[in-house]
Symmetry: C2
Subunit: 154 residues, 2 copies
């Protein structure tokens, strides 16, 4: 199966790892995963500083290599909410609970363009120790680490 | 991965086949698929007559065998909207666009019961030749066949 997923992935936390892992599981041994990685200018809308594209890309590649996934993959620049997902043929889009609305927007836009709608796989966000979602913003603020462990305030 | 899916599956049309096929793909070679098949009394709420449980079960088993899927599977009786999906541990629920609300209800009920929420994989319904969804009701009415081909009115 051909699967698409997108994000900024900085810092690469357990929620991101789950999103990527599920995408490869879903694609299967003979499948393909297209990872849309936000460009630096698009990532600038985040409320916290973000590492450069090349660093984020290397970090993702290292994670994928370490996991030993079978499916082929491509990391491509994502410079808006949809990237190539409204235009190319693929089977399923993998999103988190937070980004589910984007998936519905993509399917609406595909329909307007007379393209086949795609399956939507919504993963459940990984929870931090306090029962709230792990997010890059919370990690940046120093509330939790990338595994969702609570950090003591200094 | 352990995947759950449910339905009445009568007549077994191309939309159902897609739902079942995706469930096995998602489960993967070493995974498990639990198929909830509505009981005769629960299926009676349908607006059209439905074949008996044993017949519907054999038909499903034949389809699964013919496809040569790898994952293990179990067909279990489903006597309400949720079956065991609010109680057992599993990874992902596969639903159609039509049954997506049930998936959200299941995750809400799981949270109330302090259980981990599951991933939701929403497949895109298969369209009939007229661009509308294939459904058992339409087949029963004689509008389309199980592959979504339009039937001539007598």
């Amino acid at each position: 199966m051909k699967v698409m997923v997108g994000g900024t992935f900085d810092p690469l936390h357990d929620g991101h790892k789950r999103l990527i892992s599920r995408s490869f599981e879903l694609a299967g041994r003979d499948g393909t995963v297209i990872i849309g990685l936000t460009t630096d200018s698009f990532a600038r809308r985040k409320t916290h500083p973000v590492q450069g594209y090349a660093n984020r890309k290397s970090r993702l590649e290292k994670f994928i290599k370490d996991q030993g996934f079978f499916a082929e993959y491509t990391i491509e620049p994502l410079s808006d909410r949809y990237g190539s997902a409204t235009d190319v043929e693929f089977d399923a889009l993998v999103v988190s609970e937070e980004t589910l609305p984007i998936a519905h927007e993509i399917n609406m836009l595909r329909r307007e363009k007379q393209k086949r709608k795609v399956d939507i796989h919504q993963i459940t966000c990984v929870l931090a120790d306090d029962g709230r979602w792990i997010s890059s913003t919370r990690i940046y603020r120093g509330e939790i680490d990338e595994h969702g462990r609570l950090l003591q305030k200094r």
